[in-house]
Each structure stands twice: as structure tokens, then as C-alpha cells.
Amino acid sequence: MKHKTFFWFIMPSLAAMLLFIAMPLVSVAIQSLFVEHDQVLVEVENCTPFKCESSVAVDQEATAALREERPLGQFNALGTYTNRSHLAFAEVREAWNASGSLYDFGAQLMNLPFYKALAFTITYTAVVTPFVIVLGLAIALGVNALPQLVKGPTIFCSLLPMIVTPLIGSLILFWMVDADGILGAALQRIFDDDQLSLKASHSLTWIMLIVYGIWHSAPFSFIVFYAGLQTVPQETLEAAQIDGATRWQRVRYVVVPYMTPLVVFITLMQLMDNFRVFEPIVGFSASAKATSLSWIIFNDLRGGDIQLFGSAAATSLLTILGVIVLLMPVLIRTWQEFGRKVV
């Protein structure tokens, strides 16, 4: 295909990606260097017949005018990155010096919003991904052994948790495990504790969100593995059997190696998707106990009266950095493979 034709064909989607994905990244980078204006303060003299008092008041008009004039805010260089709600260098140093043990240090870090969110995001990603892979493979093996007739309906039912809107799926589970919901009430009865609530404890909230994550993503890995199972050659399996391999050995040494490329693929997709975990925190109203990087960005934009563009942008950039670190191995591998192909 000629360069010119290629260009015309790709132009619409390239333009869309440049305008709405590449440009926002630039805009995020710029915004993160600025911070909202301080309110303009004026000294007002209130005179009563007896004496005059001067007090400081906010000049609403001047503040609004200043915001209007320079919507970006004032230049703050890297100040936003190092303040308490982001990397918090000063606080971390202080905690490091003050804390006696590593555990203590960790506990103090968890008081800082950025590190709290980072900790949950990484834990969520690191726990959900392997569970999804193992559970998905188990379901795929189970479904593969079912009679042909019931396979279709089984796949249909299995797809539902993944297809359903994340916010809706998490709400449905939340209503069940909430104190008045069927599971929540059942748990209260089992442990004979009227006050028991999954929302009240840090670790239970985390577990609840992680269970949701596994429930939501398992169908994806199931479908991929199930399709992969159809491509495992029967001859190899039979050969292994003739050589005396047990069923478990056949799964371990024949099926699993065939699945390895799929595991790489699922891991990649899951890392990307789990790292942006966001909706379940809204759905489970879990933000008091667990926050994610995406959630704190959302909270800066929608949470308060004033939108903290600078703060949201700084967190966004740090998140993007995290994504790039996460994808690095894949990018390097693809680049090497491509190099080999061309040479």
C-alpha cells in the first residue's frame, strides 16, 4: 500500500487518537505543574460608631476574575507531586525516621492518600490476576468435560459476570453482602454478631473487592482457555496416555504447556484492566477503607466543591508511569521480536 493511501485510510482514527488520547496526556502534564489560585483576600474596615475594626475577608469577585483570567491556576512546578496527597517526600522521611520497625513504617504510609491507593491498587492487581487465571482454567477444564448439549447454556451463564456493567455488577453483589442483604444477614447469624459488617473492617473490605474482581474477570480467562483447549491436538494427548501418563500428568505436561501463550495474553489484559480498578469502589461505597489510583483522580475531579485539576493531573501522570512500568516487559519483548522479523 502506498504511503499516501495508507495515510488517508488511517487518518480519521489517527486524528481521533491524537486529539483525544495523546493531547490529553500533554494537557495532563501541563496541568500537573499548576495549582489552583489562592482566594484573594482583602482587608475590610468595619466601623461602628465607637471604633473601627479591620478584618480579612475573601474578595469573591476578584477571586472569580482571577480564575476566569488564568484558569490553569498558578505555576507550582513540581510542588504538587511532592505534597502530602501525592508522593509526600517530607512525610515519608519523617515516618521513616520516627518509626521503629518496618511494620510501623508501613502503617504510617497507609495514612498518606497516595500510598494507600497505590497499596490497594497493587494488591488488587497482584491477587486478582493469578486467581482469575487458575479459576478460569479450572472452569474451562470442567466445561470441556460436560456433554455437548449443556455447553452452550453453561457458557452463556458464565459470561454474565463479565459482560454486565462493572458498576452494576458490584452494586448487585454489594446489596447481597450489605448488612441487610441476604449474605450479610446470613453472616451475622452464623457469627451471632449483630454489628458484623463487611464494610466496617479494612481487610474484609479489601477481600470483598478482590472477590468481586475475581468474579468479574474469571469468565474472560475461562473463555480464552476454553477456546485454547479446543486446539490441543488429540494425538499428543493419546500418545501421553499410551506412555502411561495419568489424567493429572496429561493436564500438567500436555495441556498446560499448550496454554502458556494464552496465560501470557490473559496476564497482560488482566494487568491492564485490574490496574485501573475503579467502579467497584464506587459500587461497594468502599472509599473509606479502600481507594485506588483511579478513584483518587475521580475524587479530585468530582469530590469537592472545587475541582482540583492540578492534583488530579499529578496523580494521573504517576498512574500512567505505573502503567508503563507494568507494560515494559511486553513492550520490550514485542520490540525484540519485531526486530528479528525485519532483519
Binding site: I10, I163, A312
Partner: protein, 293 residues
């Protein structure tokens, strides 16, 4: 054809079937429970006394005289005007799918037929873009959109969703077009067609299976989105998903939570039918990327 040697032991069959049945209960149980419960009153669906109230609708009978009630749906759709949000969702989803497929087929076709190095780099860039959490992009849009008075309108959101959708659409259609033999359009070129004519007369007639599958995923992305729609749409233009989220804050009073439950079930129904009719396409779409590597 399972040979005698491959037949499983009864124990194994029992174990694997039990596991699948258990999984199906986990996968579908919550949905069945919520759909059933949405026709009850709050006292039944969130019953402190006895969970079986939700099955038989004990309080529902005392409060409304019947075991099933449509009060939640009436409240959500009529009183809270959920139909407006449903209508907005229809607009956003329809246009997002149409526009992103149009752009995606052209781009994907070009990527599949170009052997140049930059085609590869474009695909890699698309992969990185695909990994960006949507909310980070949204935080970049917000300030410029406010400044240019673009914030809050449906068309803005549609364009943004199309753009966010592009990396995925490009990858998927690119691999579908790779499956269409090169000889087809090349012989058309030899016969004197231009690229566009070859695309129009040779590729378009055979591309529909791939386009439909990709369209399903564009649909899902636009329909399920919360990060973009909740931040970029004004109150009156909200689609269903952000509206449900704002329901949560406002309807906690007695009897009102059922509005949210009804809204959730209503928003689930289209997805249910989508899987029902397009199960095969969804499965093949999920695995395209995997098989290609």
C-alpha cells in the same frame, strides 16, 4: 469420540460437574436474586428478619396486596425520569458504535495491508493507549472542555468514547483483515481499481462478521462506561450508569433504594439479550487477540 480408555472415573465426573454447578450458582445467582427481588418492597429485599421474606414477598403482600410489585420500576422510570437517561444511553451508544466502526474499518484495513515499519509502531502506540486508565485521560479533558464550553454535551462524550475505543477497535479489525486473503483486493487492484474501490467492492462485502464482533465490544465499552460519562456529562444529559451512581446518594430513604434496584435491573436487561443473541461472536472476539498472540 471418547474411547474407553479416555472415559473418566465416576468420582472425577462428579467432582468436575459439582464444581461447574457451583460456579454457575456464583455466576448467575446474584443476578437471579436481584431480578426477583426488584419486584418486592425494600422490607423484603433487605429483610432483617428472615431472608425467605424476599422469596415469598411477605411484606410486599401486606404493603401492596400482591406478591409482586412494580413500584420500584414505576418510581425509577416515571418519578425519577430514568427514561431520559435510557434515551441518552441509546444516543451515545448508537453513535459511538457507528462512528468508531467507520473509522476503525478504514484504519484497521490500512494497518493490515501495509508492511511498513510505521504501521507496527502505530499498533504498539495503540496498545499503550489501550492500557491508559480512562480516568487519567478524563482529567486531561476536563479543563479545556470547560474553557471551550464543550463540557456536558452528548456529542462531546460520543467523540471521547470513540477515541478511547479506537485502539481496541484498530487491533481487533486489523487482525480480522489479516485473515482476509490479500489476493482478493490485490487482484482488484490489478484489474484497475483504486484502493478505495477495492475496499468498497471486494472487502466490504466480506468483512461483516469481523465488524459485527468488533461492534459488540464497542457497544459494551460505551454502554458500560462510568469513568467518562460520569465526569463529562451534565446532570440532564446523564446516561444510565452515572445516573444509577447518583441514585445511590439520593435515594437512601425508606422505599427508595428499590428505585435503584429497579434501575439496575433495567440497565442489565439489554446486556442479557446481547449475550443471548451474540454469544458466539463475543466468544470469538475474546479469543481473537489470544490466538493471534
Amino acid at each position: 469420540m471418547a474411547s474407553v480408555a479416555q472415559r473418566r472415573s465416576p468420582g472425577l465426573i462428579f467432582f468436575s460437574t459439582a464444581f461447574i454447578v457451583f460456579w454457575l450458582m456464583i455466576a448467575t445467582g446474584p443476578f437471579i436474586w436481584t431480578v426477583w427481588g426488584s419486584f418486592k418492597v425494600q422490607g423484603d429485599f433487605f429483610s432483617k428478619t428472615d431472608w425467605r421474606y424476599a422469596l415469598y414477598g411477605v411484606r410486599t403482600i401486606t404493603e401492596t396486596g400482591d406478591a409482586f410489585t412494580g413500584n420500584g420500576y414505576f418510581g425509577a422510570w416515571i418519578q425519577q425520569e430514568f427514561w431520559r437517561n435510557a434515551f441518552n444511553t441509546v444516543i451515545v451508544v448508537t453513535f459511538t458504535v457507528i462512528i468508531s466502526l467507520t473509522m476503525g474499518t478504514l484504519g484497521g484495513y490500512a494497518l493490515a495491508r501495509s508492511g511498513f515499519r510505521y504501521a507496527f509502531w502505530l499498533l504498539m502506540a495503540a496498545l499503550v493507549f489501550r492500557a491508559m486508565p480512562h480516568i487519567t485521560l478524563v482529567s486531561g479533558y476536563l479543563l479545556p472542555f470547560f474553557e471551550w464550553n464543550l463540557w456536558g454535551h452528548l456529542p462531546t462524550t460520543i467523540i471521547v468514547l470513540v477515541a478511547i475505543n479506537q485502539p481496541f477497535t484498530l487491533w481487533m479489525l486489523h487482525s480480522f483483515f489479516l485473515n482476509i486473503p490479500k489476493d482478493m483486493d490485490e487482484s482488484a487492484l490489478v484489474d484497475g481499481c483504486t484502493r478505495l474501490q477495492a475496499f468498497r467492492h471486494v472487502i466490504i462485502p466480506v468483512m461483516w462478521p469481523g465488524v459485527i464482533t468488533t461492534g459488540l465490544f464497542s457497544f459494551l465499552l460505551a454502554y458500560n462506561d462510568f469513568a467518562v460519562t460520569s465526569v463529562l456529562l451534565s446532570q440532564e444529559n446523564q446516561t444510565m450508569v452515572p445516573k444509577i451512581a447518583s441514585f445511590l446518594g439520593t435515594v437512601r430513604q425508606q422505599g427508595q433504594v428499590m428505585f435503584a434496584v429497579a434501575a439496575v435491573v433495567s440497565a442489565m436487561v439489554p446486556l442479557f439479550f446481547l449475550v443471548l443473541f451474540f454469544q458466539r461472536q463475543i466468544v470469538s472476539g475474546l479469543t481473537t487477540g489470544a490466538v493471534k498472540g
